[in-house]
């Protein structure tokens, strides 16, 4: 059967049209941001430089693509339409008259739809894993930097131990199908996911110790919400069946948190050691505040600038790690539409077809670039203060 094609110009127009919900959302958010720039603090200042604007636009673009994936993508990312095997960009699918804008891959799936759905996987796992890594790093880094001594020695040794592992070896050992039969991933998940709960409990306890009405409300909320998510993620026992994660995704998640929390730990420890010599910390000590109050409410807020910048860079780094996992076929299902897996599949066939390789590589690169630009501009803005 003869497949008809549309021209290059029509492909560009077609892609732009498919992204209409994203353009709409971008226009609304950017318009609002420009209008209320003065009142938005650090976020508003980002719009003062072209680098900052570029960073925000790229990150928001992928965020909205992930949110509206089902509207943007014309086809099911897993559906195979045999006639479209290795179709070139712009091929028209005979049955539905839909266009394979970026062509079909070797399993006859729409590359454009896979790229769009791939953003969902990346934009869920990367920021969430970074968030957990931040929690772990902060909760351990604050006491290590503040107390020093034995705690610091032990925790730093452990952090250096993990950092001495080449990331790829760590993943080959931790993200294997076999390891899912052992309790190791669940034990690690149980340990890591405990840290956010500990963190928030300590945060509220130190602040509202003398105001029981506020304290019990906040502590109760933390324990209920935290416990709910904890049960859902670690034991897959969410009573309402809302929080759920696949075992292999849990495995990836845990491995990524494990690999990136020592880095956060080192940064937080260094910042704490620096900030604890300041006068306001001495003042708080003289007032008789407890160590944890000083760490969480005096030191941490003043360390937020470098931490935000680091979080931005780290989300990008985690995206790269996820791509690495996909590239080596570790953890994620082989048919998963994530960018790393797509790059792996396409790079083996580069001699015959190059079109399946380009969309996922450019997508991954642009997203990480957006995050790096954002981090760079955030750093510059926070230096100005």
């Amino acid at each position: 059967m003869q497949i008809e094609y549309i021209g290059a110009f029509n492909i560009v127009i077609g892609v732009l049209v498919r992204f209409w919900p994203v353009w709409l959302a971008l226009a609304i958010v950017l318009g609002a941001s420009f209008a209320y720039k003065k009142r938005l603090g650090l976020y508003g200042q980002l719009f003062d430089s072209s680098v900052g604007i570029a960073g925000v636009v790229i990150c928001l673009f992928w965020l909205f693509t992930a949110i509206f994936a089902s509207t943007v993508a014309p086809f099911d990312p897993l559906a195979q339409i045999p006639v479209m095997k290795d179709a070139l960009p712009g091929a028209i699918e005979p049955a539905s008259k839909g266009v394979f804008l970026f062509g079909g891959d070797k399993l006859a799936r729409d590359i454009f739809s896979r790229m769009v759905y791939g953003s969902q996987i990346v934009l869920i796992i990367a920021p969430a894993a970074t968030g957990f890594a931040l929690m772990v790093g902060i909760t351990l880094g604050l006491p290590a930097g503040y107390y020093g001594g034995k705690i610091d020695t032990v925790l730093s040794f452990l952090a250096n131990l993990v950092l001495a592992f080449p990331v790829i070896l760590l993943f080959y050992l931790l993200v294997t199908p076999g390891i899912m039969d052992t309790p190791i991933p669940y034990a690690m998940a149980g340990l890591f996911f405990l840290f956010p709960i500990i963190f928030f409990c300590a945060l509220f306890w130190t602040r509202y110790k003398n105001r029981p009405d506020r304290l019990y409300l906040l502590l109760g909320l933390t324990l209920v919400i935290g416990g709910w998510i904890y049960a859902g993620l670690v034991f897959d026992a969410d009573p309402l069946r809302i929080v759920h994660i696949d075992p292999n995704q849990l495995n990836i998640f845990v491995a990524v948190v494990f690999a990136s929390s020592p880095g956060v730990f080192r940064i937080v420890r260094g910042l704490t050691m620096d900030i604890k010599t300041r006068d306001y910390v001495a003042a708080a000590q003289t007032r008789g505040e407890t160590p944890w109050y000083i760490m969480l409410w005096e030191i941490l807020p003043n360390a937020r600038g470098p931490l935000i910048v680091d979080a931005c860079l780290r989300i990008g780094y985690t995206t790269i790690l996820l791509g690495t996992l996909g590239y080596f076929g570790l953890g994620l299902a082989p048919e998963s539409p994530d960018w790393g897996t797509a790059i792996k599949d396409a790079s083996r066939l580069l001699r015959s077809f190059i079109h399946p390789a380009l969309p996922p590589t450019i997508a991954l690169m642009s997203f990480v670039l957006g995050l790096n630009l954002l981090a760079d501009s955030l750093r510059e803005q926070s230096m100005k203060d």
Binding site: V51, F157, N160, L161, L163, A164, F165, P166, V167, I168, L169, Y172, L173, L174, T176, P177, G178, I179, D181, T182, I184, G316, I320, G323, T324, Y327, F328, G340, I343, K344, A346, S347, L350, R351, I354, A357, L358, T361, L364, M365, V368, L369, L371, N372, L373, D376
Partner: protein
């Protein structure tokens, strides 16, 4: 200084001991041993024979005893066939001792590779040599280029050159090896046809044609990072009083940069370049897989994919050693280069 280095080497040895124990634990998990037994026996072997294979090859001994064997602090007992009572080697393809002997890493015996049917040393060291050649060329490309970019950008902060080079270096740090590798292959191999998209023939002889793509792919990711660090360091140096003094006493701008700024600006990048090695190790694995170059990274992937216990342990030992030694060199070198820092 000497006691500092001695203490650091002590920490390194402790770290290596802990890490190999962790790796040893992970590769000896029950599912991994099963996988090994299945890959080493013929197809469709019944479970009892898999179990007896594991017993016969000593995989069912106590965990710590086996770790001691591997390390060489316990005597390796040969496997005794219960029927004949004759002692035999564990694996015939590498010279395991047939009588009890200390034969572990401490004695220089890295064990047997079950995947490649040879000793680990015979597989690992040629691979390391191949990767060493790759690394050498990567450093030859990466270090001068990144230092040049960083110095040019940091020389006049905020100029057009600075902004263009900074965005370019951010872009390269956003491009992991598997992305730049694909893009370079598409452009230079598929499209222009100038270079070879595979480095498999580099084992016979390295040519510009087959070795350029792996080298630039590996170098490009590090270039951006080192360039940014150099730029930051250069910018800081250029605001110092002594630069102003040099400028005010009438030296030309180029003279100031070359004679006064460079020396001080290059201390920080030295540390950064040294600390790039751990990342280069990961990059090596990706690039060697992508371009089919049979080096250390390729060996590591094969070992991990087939749960080749001794080879994987050897690989982890080597990589951890490289990471820790480069850290030590960077610390010592920093103290040596910067007279203001004295190691206590």
């Amino acid at each position: 200084m000497l006691s500092f280095i001695a203490r650091r080497i002590g920490t390194i040895l402790l770290t290596m001991l802990c890490l190999t124990l962790v790796v040893f634990f992970l590769v000896n998990l029950e599912p991994n041993l099963k996988k090994l037994a299945i890959s080493q026996t013929e197809m469709h072997t019944p479970p009892e024979q898999l179990e007896s294979w594991l017993v016969n090859h000593g995989y069912r001994q106590n965990f710590f005893v086996r770790y001691g064997h591997w390390l060489g602090v316990l005597k390796m007992e040969p496997i005794v066939d219960p029927a004949t009572g004759k002692a035999s080697q564990r694996f015939s393809f590498c010279n395991d001792p047939a009588e009890p002997a200390y034969s572990g890493v401490l004695q220089g015996n890295f064990g047997c590779s079950t995947k490649f049917k040879t000793t680990v040393a015979a597989k690992l060291f040629p691979a390391l040599r191949a990767t060493g050649i790759l690394m050498f060329w990567v450093l030859v490309v990466m270090v001068p280029v990144s230092l040049l970019i960083g110095i040019l950008a940091g020389m006049r902060e905020g100029s057009r050159t600075d902004r263009v080079l900074s965005v370019a270096s951010i872009a390269t740090t956003a491009t992991p090896e598997y992305v730049s590798g694909v893009i370079f292959t598409v452009i230079f191999a598929s499209w222009l046809g100038w270079l070879n998209g595979s480095a498999a023939s580099a084992a016979q002889g390295i040519t510009f044609y087959n070795f350029t793509l792996p080298v630039i792919t590996l170098a490009i990711y590090g270039i951006g990072y080192i360039a940014r660090m150099t730029r930051a360091s250069m910018v800081e140096v250029m605001t110092q009083q002594y630069i102003r003094t040099a400028r005010l006493k009438g030296l030309s701008f180029s003279n100031v940069v070359v004679k006064h700024a460079l020396r001080n600006a290059l201390i920080a990048p030295f540390t950064v370049i040294m600390l790039q090695f751990p990342w280069l190790l990961t990059g090596v694995v990706i690039v060697e897989t992508m371009f089919r170059y049979q080096g250390f990274g390729y060996t590591l992937v094969e070992a991990a994919g087939n749960n080749d216990i001794d080879l994987l342990l050897g690989c982890s030992l080597v990589s951890v050693f490289i990471v820790l030694i480069t850290q030590l060199i960077s610390d010592v070198g920093y103290a040596y280069l910067n007279p203001r820092i004295r190691v206590q």
